[in-house]
Each structure stands twice: as structure tokens, then as C-alpha cells.
């Protein structure tokens, strides 16, 4: 059995925050209803392909997934348990915003087996929160946090942001101190990125942002303040208490298999990447096509066009020898990709060995532990020193990387300029 992670995208929120460019927006109850129905159908159709996988993590992301009724959340999890083998110790996370999860909903979550809560706080300064368009203040966060503990959540993440307009080192320090005082198990601390098209970007000249030096100071402050409080940084922006790292998050960086359900959700299974459509109507068509395709497969109509159902499913359920080491050698992978394209999935991509190497490096290096070059050698049958000799030598000499045996990782200075380092690992 191979491990699989599942991502569920809930593209709804009360109101878009000013910095947000994710796929989400306000919706009516009717719209949410019809979306959940599509989601359930997609999960059902997809489950046939993952007979050989065991689900180790599930993540409800958004948007604001806690906007869904707990009944709908429960139906989704039920549908997953119906079609997939779910591990005993599965990690199930749901994102939630203060003010959207009342006591009863939180209790229901626990009943459904949701065992990790990720609360978007961003800042404890009410003025900073208002400036970026958050719907809550610090007090309502405290209320949600208290309710979550009462409901029984013993694994809580708090999202924070540095580099907010009007934020000072002092106010950020205060945010960190307050959050540490609450003793969550996990903290994600991101630097604000101004994304084109967002209100914050459009009005960027009317705000006073921390300058680059302050921004870096905030980043360093995060590391030291959280470190002193017993958190360790395991990824560029993620901090956890011992044993409380987010399992789901690490799957992305370690290139584990994951499948995303819902609008615009991304997937990667055995070196095939794809995305669901971004538009609701396209997504609806896509789900219908999956169902039609599956019916046609059962009746044998598509056998010649896209390979047999056995071939299509073998790619992800077969053994490693059946699949072949490299994608371009695997006919099944091509068949699988063809099926994805036929059913309206976007950006379907069979990763070549070179692309896999790129990803291995730029994803793995995000982790504090870095990448294991022995694993690289074993997986690609080539030495990373051979392929990335120049990059490794240059960055090591510049103090941006360090190497201990087979472990290669970014230094703190390397983390500061990680994009420049990662870009160099692309072919």
C-alpha cells in the first residue's frame, strides 16, 4: 500500500481579504449546496483509481472551509471513507477563520475524526487586521481558540503574517508573544506577498509597508522567538512543537502522492501532475465527463482510445516494476494522463526525469532538514553532484547552502534568498 494525501478545496469565504488571490469568494447557501454535490460525485468517481493507496492525511483548505455546515463536512469525509482506504492514524486538518466556527460545529468536527485545526489569525493587532480586510478581531480569535480547545482539539495551527501594512517590529513581536502564550502546537508564519490584482496591490502606494530590512528582522525574530518557546522551524514558513509537524504539508515538499478534489485543486500522483478547472461551470462539466468516461470504460467503448480500464488504473495501483522507473517509459502513465485530459482536467503533465529532479531539489530544499542526496541517487540512478555540481559548489561557497554527508540544505542566509537558489536548480 502506498500513501496518499487528499486535499479538499472549499472556495467560499465571507469576504475576500485584501491580499488574497486564492480561488475563493462569497457564495449563497444554494451555491454551496450544488458545489458540495459535485465534490461528492468527484470523490466517488475518483476513488476507483486509488485501490492500492492508503490515505494518511486529509486537508480542507480554502477559502474558509469552516463556512460549510458540519453536515456537509461530514458527508465529504464519509464519501472519502467509503471509497478510500483511510489509515488508522490519519491526520485530518480543517482551516477555519475566527467567527465561522461555533462550539457545536467544532464538536462535530471532532466526532467526524477531524483532529487538526488551522486557524487564520495573521495578527493580534486589530488595526493591522482591519487594514488587510480580515473579518475578525483578536478577541473573536481568542473565543474560537478557546472553543476549539474545549471541543477537544489538541493539535492547533495558527497562521501569522509578517510584512503587513502599518506593521512594526514591536507590534509583530507582540503578536508572537501573545501567540506563544496560547501554546498552539504549530505556527505558520508567512511574509506577505503582494499579488497582482489584489486590492492591497492596487492600493499599494497608499500603504506604508515595512521595508526590506524590517521584513527580514521580522523573519529572524520569528525564528528566535518561536525557537525559545520550543518550536522548531521544519520548513521555510512553518514551525512546530516536537512531533507536531503538519504531515500533509510535508507531502508536498517530499513529493508524496496527493490528489486534490474540488475547484482548481492540484494533484500529483506518481509523477503526473494535473489541476481541476478554475471555473465552476467547467468543473461541473469535468465531473460529468469523469462519470461518463467511467461508464464508457465499463462498457468497453473507450478501450482503443485511451487504453483499457486496467491500463488506466494500473498506473497508480500497479507495482513499481509494472509502472517502470521513469515516466516516459511507462505507457500506463501516458494512458492515465490521456484519461485526465479527456475528462477536462487542466495542465496535465507527465513529469520527465529532469523535471522530477528539479522538483526534488526546489521542493525538498524548503525543508529545514534539506534533501537527501542518497535518496536522489537511489531514485534517479544519477548523482546530484554530477547534475547539480555547479549549483551546489557555488551556493556552498557563497554560504547559502551547507552539506553534511548526503544532507544538503539551505543556510539561514540561503533561506532569505531561497527563490534565487531554487531558480538555479531548474534546467
Amino acid at each position: 500500500m502506498r500513501s496518499l494525501s487528499i486535499y479538499i478545496h472549499i472556495p467560499f469565504c465571507v469576504r475576500k481579504c485584501f491580499y488574497c488571490d486564492f480561488l475563493s469568494g462569497p457564495a449563497t447557501d444554494g451555491e454551496m449546496d450544488s458545489y458540495v454535490n459535485l465534490l461528492l460525485r468527484e470523490i466517488r468517481e475518483q476513488s476507483i483509481f486509488y485501490g492500492d493507496h492508503r490515505v494518511v492525511s486529509i486537508f480542507f483548505g480554502g477559502g474558509t472551509p469552516s463556512l460549510l455546515s458540519s453536515r456537509d463536512t461530514g458527508r465529504i469525509l464519509e464519501q472519502i471513507r467509503d471509497g478510500f482506504a483511510v489509515a488508522e492514524d490519519v491526520e485530518i486538518t480543517i482551516e477555519c477563520n475566527p467567527g465561522t466556527a461555533v462550539a457545536e460545529k467544532l464538536k462535530n468536527y471532532i466526532t467526524y475524526g477531524i483532529n487538526r485545526l488551522s486557524i487564520g489569525l495573521q495578527s493580534t493587532d486589530d488595526e493591522e487586521l482591519a487594514r488587510i480586510g480580515r473579518i475578525h478581531d483578536y478577541d473573536s480569535f481568542l473565543e474560537t481558540y478557546r472553543l476549539a480547545r474545549t471541543a477537544g482539539f489538541d493539535n492547533i495551527n495558527i497562521d501569522l503574517m509578517a510584512g503587513l501594512p502599518g506593521q512594526s517590529i514591536a507590534s509583530y513581536r507582540k503578536t508572537l508573544e501573545r501567540v506563544v502564550g496560547l501554546s498552539p502546537e504549530h505556527i505558520s508564519a508567512y511574509s506577505l506577498i503582494l499579488e497582482e490584482g489584489t486590492p492591497l496591490y492596487v492600493n499599494r502606494n497608499t500603504y506604508l509597508f515595512p521595508d526590506e530590512d524590517e521584513d527580514r528582522e521580522m523573519y529572524e525574530l520569528t525564528g528566535t522567538a518561536l525557537g525559545e518557546a520550543g518550536f522548531h522551524r521544519y520548513e521555510i514558513s512553518n514551525y512546530a512543537r516536537e512531533g507536531r509537524e503538519c504531515r500533509h504539508n510535508k507531502v508536498y515538499w517530499r513529493r508524496g502522492d496527493y490528489v486534490g478534489f474540488g475547484l482548481g485543486a492540484s494533484s500529483m500522483v506518481e509523477n503526473v501532475r494535473w489541476k481541476n478547472p478554475d471555473r465552476h461551470s467547467d468543473y461541473a462539466v469535468c465531473v460529468e465527463q469523469m462519470e461518463a468516461h467511467d461508464r464508457d470504460l465499463d462498457s468497453g467503448i473507450l478501450i482503443h482510445a485511451a487504453g483499457s480500464k486496467a491500463e488506466q488504473t494500473a498506473h497508480i495501483t500497479g507495482t513499481a516494476t509494472e509502472r517502470g522507473m521513469y515516466i516516459e517509459e511507462g505507457k500506463q502513465a501516458a494512458t492515465f494522463a490521456e484519461m485526465l485530459r479527456r475528462t477536462g482536467r487542466c495542465e496535465v503533465q507527465l513529469l520527465t526525469p529532469l523535471e522530477q529532479m528539479e522538483e526534488f531539489m526546489f521542493l525538498g530544499l524548503r525543508l529545514t532538514e534539506g534533501v537527501d542526496l542518497g535518496e536522489f541517487r537511489q531514485y534517479f540512478k544519477k548523482s546530484a553532484d554530477e547534475i547539480y555540481r555547479k549549483q551546489i559548489e557555488t551556493f556552498t561557497a557563497q554560504g547559502l547552502m551547507e552539506r553534511r554527508g548526503d544532507r544538503l540544505r539551505l543556510t539561514p542566509r540561503g533561506v532569505d534568498v531561497s527563490n534565487a537558489v531554487f531558480a538555479a536548480f531548474l534546467f
Binding site: 478545496h9 486564492f22 506577505l192 486534490g260 489541476k275 526546489f362 534568498v417 531561497s418 531554487f422 538555479a424
Partner: protein
């Protein structure tokens, strides 16, 4: 064809005074064929041609005019390029004519180019008669302009036709004046062939099409010809004249006529403008006067932005050269820019035209180095080299002295701007020659100016300091000794050859400082600090620093959307690819061009 019924002429004017519009009107109000030819032609065709004749822009065209004296006249209207860069081509076009119409704007009066062009026409012994255009403008003052023409140029203007080319007023008068005032061509068809090449174009089917004026003799299909200067020989395949927008073959071109010939010639460099065509079997005694080899005045390096496109750039230059004998290029290598070409042009406009054509027609992305002129470097060992690429400047210890090209410039300006314009000329190391007052409110300033001071942005500066009123013309005067130095730019302690340029010693500091400031803005921050220095003869005269990049982190990678993240990294990587690597510094293409814009602020 009765030689006495031919008129070969051109129109000279300052830009925007209505030259093209008048040409259009002349074509419109005449016919394109003689009545004899008309009978032989299908009328439908002719109407089409007539239509084209109206829409077509002025170029070399043969038209037929039914004059008031009852005779039919052949007019050959020869278009002349209107820019100082192409002075030599203009002079050869003028040499193909017997007379010229001078168009002067009734409101603006005489301008610098009016003078330059009319003097050029008079130098070629052309009979010039003026017409006053745009008389329907409210600000028109034809009497004043007539007086100006008589006073300044010294040609009779009292009976000049008063016209509006735009509105078709007075065109008939102009046509009659062409018959009366422009002399019929001389020469005899029985003399040995002597024809002046005034232009040529390359046609992929016919080879080079040579535009020529037959001064003596005759030429027809089968004539064996020789280009007297280039020595190329060929057998004529076709002769003809210029219809509107098309070539119309005929049996023979004889003395006095203007037309074209083709002879399966592969390259325009065999048919140099100004050369004389003669009959191999019955050659003329000597070539027509005035031929000169056109020399490039301005040089720059042109490099493909993408190094892999070098062969494409070479092919494109080869093709352009087929049609443009004044374009010169030779391969060169730059440490910073890789493989490219050092290209020579007649002037900055010519450079811009070529650059634009390479980019538009051949889809090439170019990096162009700062244009420079040809310096003469006299070495201590007595040798002289003509320097077109600053990187090739010999070691200062080997240089005795250097010379730079100087031009005689004439600037026409309204008196209120004399001050600012004189100041501009001083700043550009101009040597004041004289001021002549054309009338109470306008003056002609004469300066000698180093060519390298005017090739970048002099014209723009002139316009901005005179609110658009100044006009400008120049011609090469010669070489003068000058205190020149090579300004080098060092980026992260490495000299960047493509950024070096020659500058007068007195402005080296100022230019160096500006260069460093400009480059500081152009070069993106790296993972390390980058010093940018300007140096003359190894001595640092200016310095700026590009600070090291502090932060470049991607935050969230949402819901496992690795593809989006990778796209961002790829964009970053692509951006780097478009840069040039010097040492371990990546320099964007735009930095190499920024040298051109030093006077922006």
C-alpha cells in the same frame, strides 16, 4: 520620344512643408501614359493605375502632361530622401534632374532643410523655381515668404505659384511652370552610353533593378553594360520606365530619359549610387562627375539578445545589405555580449531604420551598443588607424594623438531661442562661426560641432530647447585633433567591453558619473554586493554600488499547487537568461542601451 518634351525634376522642401502632397496632386492631375500608349492599353488597367497613382506616395514616377501649348510632355518626378543622413543619395537624385520645385510653407517660411536642399540643388546646376504652399492657412503670409526666398536664397519668387497642395489650389499653374521653367534634357542618343545610377532596389526575381538617368546614348535589351566605378559588367535583360507603383517595360531608354534597367545583377553593391553605366562595346570616354564611395559615419555593435540567433542576425543583415549599399557590417566578438556585428551607418536615422527593420521584419531581439563615430588614432610609430570600436583603442602609451570628425552645422531658429540653442552648442563643444539674420525674428546659426556630440540626442535637445521651432542641418567638414579618452565601465571589478566608449576628456567625469548612476538602477540586486566603476586609463573616476539582495522568498504554496510555484521560478530563471553574464554578474540587455539615454533628466 522627342527630347524637348521631357522634363526631369524633383521637389525639394523642408520636412512637412508639403512635398509629398504636391507630388500626389501632380500625379493626380496628369496622366500616367501618353495618348499613343493609352490607345494601345486596355482602359480598365489604366484606370486601376490611375487610382494607384493617386494613392501612391511620391516616388520616382513618369507621368504625362497635356500642356496648354497643345503638346504632350513627359514628366519624370524623382523623389529624394529627405534626411541629412542620406545627403549623398539626395545629391545623386538631384544630379538625375534638370530642375527642381522648391516648396516653401506660406506660414513658416524658409527652414534649415529648405536652405540645405536648395543649395544642394543649385550646386547641381538645377533650375529651381519656388512655389508657396499652404496659402489657405490663416497664418499664411506669402508676400513675406516671397521676399524671404529672394533675400535669403536669391532666386526670383515674385511670380511663384501660390498653392494649397492639400486642397488642390494652383496645381495647374505648377504644371505649366514645370514646362516653362525646367529645361529639357540635353545629350544625344547617338553618343556612347553614359547613364547615372541614382538608386537601385533588389528584387528576388529580377535581381537588382537599377534606377538611372540616361545622359548620353541609348540602352536596350541585350546591351552589354559596365558600371564604371565598380567594374561590374552585365547584359541588360529589361529596360523600362516608372509607372505608378510598378515597372513598365519599354524597348529602349535614350538620352534625356529616366528609367530602370535589369541585368540579372545579384547585389546592389555592384550598382553603387552615383556610378556611371556605359556600353561595353561602345564605352564613353569618362564617367559622370560626382561619384563617391559612401562611407559610414556612425558605428555601433549589434548583438542578438539570444546568442543562438547569431546566424539569423547574419542572414538578416545580408538581406538588408542586398538593398542598402551604405550598410556595412563585420563580425565582432564581445566578452559581454558574445558574437555580433560592428555595423556602419550613414547616420543615426539610418541606424534606427536598420535596427527597426531587423526587429520588425526579421523578428530579432537586439542589443545595441552606444553608437560612435570613426576616430583617427595616430600612433607613435607613425601608423594611423581608423577606430570604430572603442575596445580596439591601442594602449595610451602607443597613441600620439587622436582626431575626431567635425561637422558644419546650420541651425535655423527664431530669435527668442538663440540663447538656449547657443548654450546647447557650447555644451556640445561647438565652435561658433556666425549668426545671420534671415529676417527680424529669425536667425541662422552656424557652428562647427564634433560629430560624436550630435549623434545621440542633439536633435531632441534642439527641439526641446526651442519648443520645436529650431531646424537643423549638417555636413561633414573634416577631422580635427581632439583630447579624447576611453571611458571604461567596471562591474564587480570586471571591465565590460560593450560599455566602453570614447569621450572628450573634459566630459569624461560627468559621463562616467551618469553611467554609474544609470547602471546602478539597471542592474538588479544579486546575492552579493556589486561595485560599478567608471575608469579612464585605469584610474577610477566614479563609483556606485548595487547592494546585495536581502530577501527573495516565496511564501505560501497553496494546496500543493507546485506548478504555479515552478512557473514563478521559471519566470525568474527566464529573466536571468535574457541577461548577459559578465563574471558572475547578470546584466540586463537594457543596461547596454542605457548609455544612449544619459541626458534624459
Amino acid at each position: 520620344m522627342d527630347q524637348s518634351k521631357i522634363r526631369n525634376f524633383c521637389i525639394v522642401a523642408h520636412i512637412d512643408h508639403g512635398k509629398s502632397t504636391l507630388a500626389d496632386r501632380i500625379i493626380e492631375q496628369t496622366g500616367l501614359l501618353t495618348s499613343r500608349e493609352m490607345q494601345a492599353q486596355i482602359l480598365d488597367n489604366m484606370e486601376l493605375e490611375r487610382e494607384r497613382g493617386i494613392t501612391i506616395k511620391a516616388q520616382t514616377v513618369r507621368i504625362v502632361y497635356q500642356a496648354k501649348d497643345g503638346n504632350e510632355y513627359i514628366f519624370n518626378l524623382i523623389d529624394t530622401p529627405g534626411h541629412v543622413d542620406f545627403n549623398y543619395e539626395v545629391s545623386r537624385s538631384l544630379a538625375a534632374c534638370d530642375g527642381a520645385i522648391l516648396v516653401v510653407d506660406a506660414a513658416q517660411g524658409i527652414e534649415a532643410q529648405t536652405l540645405a536642399n536648395v543649395y544642394l540643388a543649385l550646386d547641381h546646376d538645377l533650375d529651381v523655381f519656388p512655389v508657396i504652399n499652404k496659402i489657405d492657412l490663416p497664418s499664411a503670409d506669402p508676400e513675406r515668404v516671397k521676399n524671404e526666398i529672394e533675400d535669403v536664397i536669391g532666386i526670383e519668387a515674385q511670380d511663384a505659384p501660390l498653392i494649397s497642395a492639400k486642397n488642390g489650389i494652383g496645381i495647374g499653374e505648377v504644371l505649366e511652370a514645370i514646362v516653362e521653367k525646367i529645361p529639357a534634357p540635353g545629350g544625344s542618343p547617338d553618343n556612347p552610353l553614359q547613364a547615372l545610377i541614382f538608386d537601385s532596389v533588389y528584387d528576388s526575381y529580377k535581381g537588382v533593378i537599377v534606377f538611372c538617368r540616361i545622359k548620353e546614348g541609348r540602352v536596350r535589351k541585350g546591351t552589354k553594360i559596365r558600371m564604371m566605378a565598380t567594374g561590374a559588367t552585365a547584359e541588360v535583360v529589361e529596360v523600362g520606365y516608372f509607372g505608378a507603383g510598378q515597372f513598365i517595360p519599354c524597348d529602349e531608354l535614350a538620352a534625356g530619359m529616366v528609367g530602370y534597367l535589369t541585368a540579372s545583377i545579384k547585389n546592389v553593391k555592384d550598382t553603387a549610387v552615383g556610378d556611371t553605366v556605359t556600353d561595353v562595346d561602345n564605352p564613353c570616354a569618362e564617367p559622370l562627375p560626382g561619384y563617391k564611395k559612401v562611407n559610414s559615419m556612425v558605428y555601433c555593435g549589434m548583438y542578438p539578445a539570444d546568442g543562438a540567433k547569431y546566424p539569423d542576425l547574419r542572414d538578416a543583415l545580408e538581406k538588408l545589405k542586398l538593398n542598402d549599399a551604405s550598410l556595412n557590417y563585420e563580425p565582432e566578438t564581445s566578452i559581454a555580449l558574445g558574437f555580433g556585428f560592428r555595423c556602419g551607418f550613414l547616420g543615426l536615422l539610418h541606424l534606427e531604420i536598420i535596427q527597426e527593420r531587423l526587429e520588425r521584419e526579421y523578428n530579432l531581439d537586439l542589443v545595441t551598443t552606444a553608437p560612435g563615430v570613426i576616430y583617427r588614432v595616430y600612433k607613435t610609430n607613425g601608423e594611423m588607424i581608423e577606430l570604430t570600436n572603442p575596445s580596439n583603442l591601442p594602449d595610451p602609451s602607443e597613441i600620439d594623438y587622436m582626431e575626431e570628425p567635425v561637422v558644419s552645422a546650420e541651425i535655423m531658429v527664431t530669435t527668442e531661442f538663440i540663447g538656449p540653442i547657443m548654450q546647447l552648442c557650447q555644451e556640445r563643444r561647438g565652435r561658433y562661426i556666425s549668426t545671420e539674420y534671415i529676417e527680424a525674428s529669425r536667425a541662422l546659426l552656424k557652428y562647427d560641432l564634433p560629430l560624436n556630440e550630435i549623434i545621440y540626442d542633439f536633435f531632441d535637445a534642439l527641439k526641446s530647447r526651442s519648443r520645436g521651432y529650431a531646424s537643423f542641418d549638417y555636413e561633414l567638414k573634416g577631422y580635427e585633433q581632439s583630447k579624447l579618452v576611453k571611458l571604461d565601465i567596471l562591474i564587480n571589478h570586471d571591465e565590460v567591453d560593450a560599455l566602453s566608449f570614447i569621450v572628450h576628456a573634459d566630459s569624461a567625469y560627468e559621463r562616467g558619473r551618469k553611467m554609474c548612476e544609470k547602471l546602478k538602477d539597471e542592474i538588479p540586486r544579486h546575492l552579493f554586493e556589486i561595485p560599478i566603476q567608471a575608469a579612464v586609463g585605469g584610474k577610477i573616476i566614479a563609483r556606485e554600488t548595487v547592494k546585495a539582495m536581502r530577501k527573495d522568498v516565496l511564501a505560501k504554496c497553496y494546496g500543493g499547487d507546485i506548478t504555479r510555484k515552478k512557473k514563478l521560478l521559471e519566470k525568474q530563471k527566464e529573466g536571468k537568461k535574457r541577461m548577459r553574464q559578465v563574471g558572475n554578474v547578470e546584466i540586463p540587455q537594457s543596461a547596454f542601451m542605457s548609455v544612449l539615454k544619459l541626458d534624459d533628466n
